[in-house]
């Protein structure tokens, strides 16, 4: 009859107490699990988002990344970068704001254009056709692809005319509306929650900006390194070739976010994880201590019969492990369901990339969760084990008999 068997029997002998304890640990464990998912969720999600674009180097103008300034002379920069042996592909990304007119009310959206060949990474066509490869006749309205929600809001389908007026920063929006033709509906990789996107060709972009189209600026230039070179070496080569820009590998971008904005989530996660673990320790320790105090006579009798301290201690430690183990197992699905709900709520924050998630599962988090709960079980068992181990046998038997 092992300590584990005795612990299990002791636990199941009082189903109400065991249920309360397991339910409490399951809820606390779920919160702990969510804190772990949150601690690195944004970073992992950001990394996945960056990698999914198919480019592993980002070229920007300013020193103070991630605050972005436009990259001037983007076409020339892109051409220089494309010539580097370390670089496999280059894409220029330009964005602006625009107001679109359809059948319903005017709607503000992000106006996006990417260099040819990068469309597949920027959006996925779900209806109609993609932007044509050739520039098209100057007499013909330029083509546009919009997101599904925008199409529904404007009441448009592929083939319909679309009027678009660009909004230029720092300038009065006196630009005339330009007629486009809607060729397709797509899901955009860089879509932000609460915002809409309209993509067009570089020609369409310039025609929309008309009078403001004097510059050749880009928000960001993306580069894909050659596999045998790697992103870090490609970024260094780009900065050597063009000292007027800064190039960051995806690793470096994630590292910068980790040091800056996302560090808050990690700190919050650490604090809340500690608090939840503290609650778990208190809950299990209290229940076990009450249980031990109710069984002092039995414990003293077991010791009198010759069961050594370590056996009694092992029994209580196993009892703690059973409670925390069962609660911990239940906490995973519970925590996951909670994480899905919380993630949905947090992703309602405006201007957040739609593909960015706050709660992201990684296999090693399950191991961390198990390890932290194991630590919790050990800490929770410490006090009741100490009570049982230090119990004066004779005195306890006498007290229990008198009482």
């Amino acid at each position: 009859m092992t300590a584990r068997t005795l612990a299990w029997r002791a636990m199941t002998a009082d189903p109400a107490r065991a249920t309360l304890a397991v339910a409490g640990v399951a809820i606390i464990g779920a919160l702990l699990f969510d804190m772990l998912l949150l601690s690195r969720g944004l970073l992992v999600s950001l990394r996945q988002m960056l990698d999914s674009a198919g480019y592993d180097v980002r070229i920007v103008a300013s020193e103070g990344f991630p605050i972005r300034l436009p990259v001037d002379h983007a076409s020339a920069v892109a051409a220089d970068v494309a010539r580097l042996p370390e670089v496999r592909a280059v894409a220029v990304v330009r964005t602006d704001r625009a107001i679109l007119f359809g059948r319903g009310d005017p709607i503000e959206a992000t106006l996006l254009t990417v260099s040819r060949g990068a469309e597949a990474q920027a959006w996925r066509l779900v209806d109609g056709e993609n932007l044509p490869a050739d520039a098209g006749s100057p007499d013909r309205p330029p083509p546009a692809v919009i997101d599904r929600a925008l199409a529904e809001a404007l009441g448009l389908r592929p083939g319909a005319p679309l009027w678009l007026r660009a909004l230029l920063q720092g300038e009065a929006s006196a630009l005339p509306a330009v007629r486009f033709r809607l060729v397709g509906i797509a899901e955009f990789a860089t879509a932000e929650s609460g915002d809409h996107t309209v993509a067009t060709t570089l020609d369409g972009y310039r025609r929309a900006r008309t009078a403001g189209a004097s510059d050749d600026a880009a928000d960001v230039i993306l580069a894909a390194s050659r596999p045998e070179v790697g992103a870090a070496r490609a970024a260094a080569a780009i900065e050597r070739a063009r000292p007027d820009v800064r190039a960051f590998s995806n690793d470096q971008v994630v590292a910068r976010f980790n040091e800056n904005g996302f560090a808050y989530f990690r700190q919050i996660s650490v604090v809340l994880s500690s608090v939840t673990m503290g609650f778990a320790v208190l809950l299990v320790a209290t229940l076990l201590t009450v249980s031990v105090n109710q069984r002092l006579g039995e414990v003293a009798a077991l010791r009198a019969l010759g069961l050594p301290r370590r056996r009694v201690a092992a029994m209580l430690a196993w009892e703690s492990a059973c409670v925390v183990g069962l609660g911990g197992a239940l906490s995973i699905p519970l925590g996951w369901a909670l994480a899905v709900r919380l993630d949905h709520i947090l992703r309602q924050i405006p201007n957040l990339p739609e593909r960015l998630h706050f709660f992201v599962f990684e296999p090693e988090l399950a191991a961390w969760h198990a390890a932290l709960l194991g630590l919790t079980a050990a800490a929770a068992a410490a006090y009741p084990v100490w009570i049982a181990a230090r119990l004066p046998i004779a005195e306890t038997l006498r007290q229990e008999t008198i009482s």
């Binding site: 199941t12 002998a13 069961l307």
Partner: protein, 262 residues
């Protein structure tokens, strides 16, 4: 009517059929060489014991120079008023407590020289305890309660189950082996507790007010069981207020103010 004559009438062999209650040969070195043996050999010898308990109102001496020698196969009853130190003496004889002064030698070994784990091992293998309030584990059935000390002693599962069943049959509870303590009467629980105390074939059975929670008829049954256990070779020391129970012992001692009187 059970035999009330004490040890002398039973010195030749076991008095009843059933499980082997002969104290096991000491194979673990818990006894000094050559000291554990047949009837008449000394099991435990306490000399000039004092036990002082620190209390908020000042130290209280529960024992004041008590001495006693228990031989193998003996049946000793200790009576006396509440608070006279009976239970304290029992705990010292059973190695669950240590004296403030004086010495306890169990099968030739000075208990003061044993570590806590060595004393636990000695209790497990050489001493059986029966408590007034039984202290059975409520989550285990009768058989499992009896198996528990054997499991701790490393007895293989099949063997300990067989012995537990034999012991439960011996105490008249063969049909109740799968019942938990909550499903048993007070007398039945005490009989399970006696079976548990005998599980590892102890040299000495210590009983602290074993009939204190039982009615007269049930107490009589338990007393008869003690007679039988003693007749089958186990030395017994019991402390009790029950003079009828004490009268069945071969040797009766009275205790007053922490001292033993013949």
């Amino acid at each position: 009517m059970s035999d009330h004559s004490g040890t002398s009438a039973r010195v030749n062999g076991r008095a009843s059929a059933g499980p082997d209650l002969t104290p096991r040969a000491d194979r673990e070195g818990t006894a000094a060489p050559g000291r554990a043996g047949g009837r008449g050999a000394c099991i435990v010898e306490a000399s000039n014991l004092t036990r002082v308990f620190p209390m908020p109102s000042g130290p209280v001496a529960a024992l004041r120079g008590a001495s006693i020698r228990i031989a193998a196969g003996e049946y000793v009853a200790i009576t006396g008023p509440s608070g006279c130190g009976k239970s304290t003496l029992l705990h010292l004889l059973g190695c669950v407590d240590v004296p403030t002064s004086g010495s306890v030698r169990f099968e030739g070994r000075d208990v003061a020289g044993l570590s806590e784990s060595e004393r636990a091992r000695l209790r497990l293998m050489r001493v059986g305890f029966v408590f007034q309030r039984f202290f059975l584990l409520p989550m285990l059935d009768a058989r499992e309660n009896v198996e528990l000390p054997q499991a701790e002693a490393g007895v293989p599962p099949a063997e300990r189950r067989r012995r537990a069943d034999e012991l439960l049959a011996y105490v008249g509870l063969a049909e109740r082996a799968r019942h938990r303590p909550a499903q048993l009467s007070g007398g039945e629980m005490q009989r399970v507790a006696i079976a548990r105390a005998l599980a590892n074939r102890p040299a000495l059975l210590l009983a602290d007010e074993p009939t204190g929670e039982l009615d007269e008829e049930t107490g009589e049954q338990i007393a008869a069981l003690f007679d039988r256990v003693n007749a089958d070779g186990t030395a017994i020391v019991l402390v009790t207020h029950n003079l009828q129970l004490a009268a069945r012992a071969g040797r009766r001692l009275a205790m007053r103010g922490g001292r033993l009187e013949p």
